[in-house]
Symmetry: D2
Subunit: 379 residues, 4 copies
């Protein structure tokens, strides 16, 4: 793989590299790590890359890699730049025959996402959008259990993503993450709802298999001086009439990445939170709740195939992230062999989820600015 963005001082680039490396299926062979050539070179050197394949720009990388022999050039690019720099490299890569791994949210705005969806469709290339939380084994298990119908009709979803790291005016200093994530020109219009609310939204749709159709939202910019919303909540309705409450905030002191989902159906429900990621709580209306654990013999085959350690040692965020990369690699391998990817087992989020995520961002803001209670959530 080749990487676009992800220089040495970028948090998410290193995460992508570790996730890609974990299973020994993917090798980082080239990169355009920064818009500053010197920084790109430093990153490449520290990653022990062949200097000839450390590029000054993504366009140079795509052009030169394309010119390499089949068995030498990168198979796909991983794009880990800030949101406003997603669309151009993704477009160029796809149109030049490269598959794409793309950090979420998909693009800077909905329009770009729709265009990107058309490009994916037109080129026939694969795109993986890194909604990491869908890679956790017990999220796979949750989805399988809901699909099985064991809980009956789904009635209610609570999904929340509280963080606390933006509780102060961090962007006033030199904190790079805070700076771009609170800058409307780089992050997009929605702030916390774009950064982490999209994860919560995606998780709710992924786990339940349902789709949001109505929304009533409220966002706030709480920390004085902040240019983007750092807090928000929404009441939502699914296509089945089931209701959902979604909360995302970045000013909740001490909270880390406490994404949590609770789903309730006619006969039972379930609960999962990232801070205890290897546990899925399964609830019943008439008998004791159950503690389902990753790596156990009794979980579904799909969930098992997303565990690396047979017994019960904790697996974490990097392993969930690596599941996305590995599933993407399996997909590309199948494609190379002319086989169909095994979607039912080795799925990963794609541009459809990307478009819906951008729709979420737009609708959150549209609803927040509206005096009408409910607005339709549709393309």
């Amino acid at each position: 793989m080749g990487m676009i963005g992800g220089g040495l001082d970028a948090f998410i680039g290193a995460v992508h590299r570790m996730a890609a490396a974990l299973d020994g299926q993917i090798e980082l062979v080239c990169g355009a790590f920064s818009s500053k050539p010197e920084k790109s070179k430093q990153a490449g050197a520290s990653l022990l890359l062949n200097p000839a394949r450390v590029y000054e720009s993504f366009s140079e990388m795509i052009k030169k890699e394309k010119a390499l022999p089949d068995d030498e050039r990168m198979d796909f690019v991983s794009i880990v730049t800030p949101n406003h720099l997603h669309f151009e490299p993704a477009k160029l890569a796809l149109e030049n025959g490269f598959h794409v791994v793309l950090d979420k949210p998909a693009t800077f705005n909905l329009l770009e996402a729709k265009q990107l969806a058309e490009i994916v469709s037109a080129t026939g290339k694969y795109l993986c959008l890194t909604h990491t939380y869908t890679g956790y084994p017990m999220i796979k298990e949750a989805r399988q259990q809901i699909r099985s119908g064991k809980f009956g009709i789904i009635r209610k979803v609570f999904v929340e993503y509280p963080q606390g790291w933006l509780s102060t005016f961090l962007e006033g200093g030199n904190q790079k993450q805070a700076s771009w994530r609170t800058d409307p020109a780089k992050s997009g219009i929605a702030g916390a709802m774009g950064d982490i609310g999209t994860h919560a939204f995606n998780l709710a749709e992924y786990v339940t298999g349902l789709q949001i159709v109505k929304i009533c939202a409220d966002v706030k910019a709480i920390v004085p001086g902040r240019r983007l919303y750092d807090d928000g909540a929404a009441l939502l309705n699914f296509n089945t009439g089931a209701s959902c409450v979604l909360m995302a905030t970045q000013v909740a002191a001490v909270e880390e990445n406490s994404i949590k989902i609770r789903v309730y159906g006619e006969k039972g429900g379930l609960e999962w939170q990232q801070e205890d990621a290897n546990t899925l709580l399964v609830k019943w209306i008439d008998r004791p709740a159950e503690i389902w654990r990753a790596g156990s013999a009794y979980i579904s085959d799909v969930a098992k195939k997303h565990c690396r350690i047979p017994a019960g040692h904790p697996e974490g965020y990097l392993e969930a992230f690596a599941n996305l990369y590995r599933n993407f690699a399996f997909c590309l391998q199948a494609a190379l062999q002319g086989k169909k990817p095994e979607w039912d087992v080795y799925d990963f989020p794609g541009i459809e989820e990307g478009v819906r995520g951008m729709l979420f961002i737009e609708k959150i803001i549209e609803s927040s600015r509206s005096n009408h209670k409910w607005i339709d959530f549709s393309l």
Copy 2:
């Protein structure tokens, strides 16, 4: 004390009696336990009361007790009937010189609550509304800590009360609790929001010391056949601009009485949930969260005075309930002695909280039926 309602098959009557008995300050001396005289007598006998003071109706009780000598007649009545039978006995008791303990919500509707407030004011009698959760020691502690200003300006509140016991059409059978609580003629207009949402609302205002001024709500009747809403959520704004998300549902499988509140301020915040009632989690933006425990030497004097056991054995719901009764007893004792009640230490909810609770119920429904996003939350 005398009791109105609370026959042998009523859940909450027994709770009131145990709570009143715990501290040895209050004695049950009479009762009108049921609108059916035979049932009232049975209850009185089983409670070892003097048969002469087991009455056939609340009006008989109030009349006859009033006629007793000062040192013999009951000091106050405890009213534990369904919501539609709160106002009349409360009015009659107050107007005949008796103090009142009243189960929440205060009345059947807002109009009654306002009238009751006027009667309380006019008679100068005391009224205690049993919002039990405010009686927990660590809720007292939470309130003290927020009042102290240690967390800075309060920004955000999440409060939730998920239950699961109405997940099925229980009122189709003989379940007495389910029957009246889902009957609009007995329970009022709001269902879950009236039954448990009011507790969540009260807790949020009590702990923060803030008042709700705007509301955007949505309620649902989820279980087929149900005549009242069994689920709801609301976005709220406090008078300071702080925001709040409130959730209450009675169709969340396995959830018991999982009331939980999280408050976040500029510098830190806190979290409490009834299932771990003796713990208060205190959070900071820049240092480890702390586990504050009931009965510990380091908690505030106010909280200590609501703990019964110096070391750390768990105290529960009955003890919290008993704190309301004991504080009410202290208030009456002070009144008898011509002293001012020590409100700062031994507080309890009263008719003001009752009026606000009924306002909440009305506004929840008004907002749910409105196409406007925000409605004012004011009398």
Copy 3:
């Protein structure tokens, strides 16, 4: 009931009184609250007792109460003095026709306990030893489940009781609890093992229905200056060959009364801890663990009869304590009516458990002083 000990500054006396009062079955009618007559009078006054029935000594109380008419005199005494003052009042009470509630450990030493057992047997009176933890509903549930055989043969027990309140030389100051509990002349020979280790021991035997037959123990006096052991652990064997590890310490910083038991059998096991007393974790070798909750519809009838609140509000230590008093009251009522007490449902610990507890204390010390690894645990 009449109380011996339990003056206003005594922790456990107030606990006994609240526990006895909770269910409205028992009334405190007299007391000899202190060896200092003035203190006894003050306590009696504050408890609103008839001054004529507040006595200067337990012998006076037993004598004068005995002289009262049948329907007036106390039915039983509750003895809540330090350990060295258990035997004499218990003996006198029993021999004068009064039943006895006795705080644990039963007596000052094993010899006294054996004598007391003979007196109980000879007089035919009832004695309840307040091993409070056996009164928790989910401990009843645990015992029922193990008795049912669902876990197969029991193999292993871990039981622990860590406290931290004696982490410093508290007895150097005016802390009354610390003073007598660390004084060999008042507390007995074993310190922490006597004070809380006996609870752990009793719980292990009660829950499993097994009996210890071999012991290898080690105790330590950790805090400089302390005259009694404040820490200890033991390896134990049950009569079936199952093994047990028991830990008790009073120098474990921050720990409160964290008594916890884990039992493992062939097919599954269970776990309970007082800090989450309303939960029983049920474990299986081949399927998810289950969270059993007090007050739920699915628990055993015996456990249900030890819950006061049908839904799931937390019940705590006082309620568990009150279960002992209530079951004792049921027993006395049955006796009065010439019926057999319902031991299978409304059990409570008695003098047999008291003798075994004192045996535990003696054996712990004998083993700790021995160079032999294992010593027999038998009378």
Copy 4:
């Protein structure tokens, strides 16, 4: 690196490979994955290795790799065979100039471990023993905090490692892990105490910085038919007089790898368990306990350098394992550059810990067979 053992059906081999790959510092270049040449080849192929460097035996590998040019041959071997096959390849590797990563316990018996220590010393090569739990960031933090003296003198340690996977006679079937681990000829004399008790022992000494000097142990073979002990417990004394209780069992239903340590000192203490590996509970005798979290800004520099993700996403077992490999790689890099390894920051367990672990195994068995209560724990 080259790998010895770790064929496709071996659990721990894959773990080592993922751990080595995670940070991009180490590349697997060769292997002798099985004593069956065909199986070794299959493993090598599946790992995309150069077939010329997939060997039929470890001796062939060491010999042929040694003959390769400096910049091509492996730097170290990773030995992941069953215990009885540790010593020979480790000896051969060291004596031929290769550093060694060795799975725990170090060897088959104490004699081998001592010999290996001499070889390490004589050759000057590095050896890393994979006591994985010491690689967790919050274990580093725990050790730093204890070293800082903030808790005063350490008084008491509880360490436990309950597992449940050997609750049945699994070795009667085809379960490869169960077969060798319960076979005295492959696993050594101590069963559970060797397999997981050594981890608990190592963790206790590592975190506290103390050394065990006395032991009183008891082991059992609980499952019928089992040839090795599957359960055990020990009372221990540290060189400072502090006491320790250690428990390890493999027949505790549902328990996974629930290793947990609690340390108590004069002023406070701490608690860590693998199932919540990113949390360290810090306890005080006079103020609320604190929840320290991996990745937070307030933790020590040493702990921070063992976190990969700046915010608070969970890191797990593979990341802890990878910390050992990375620290080992840093050590080798320093050695290559003629620098001193930064032991104070990037430490890893070595042959000294290996010898002490084997001593633990021997002493556990010696004590279990002895009638004397205490035996010395010394070489």
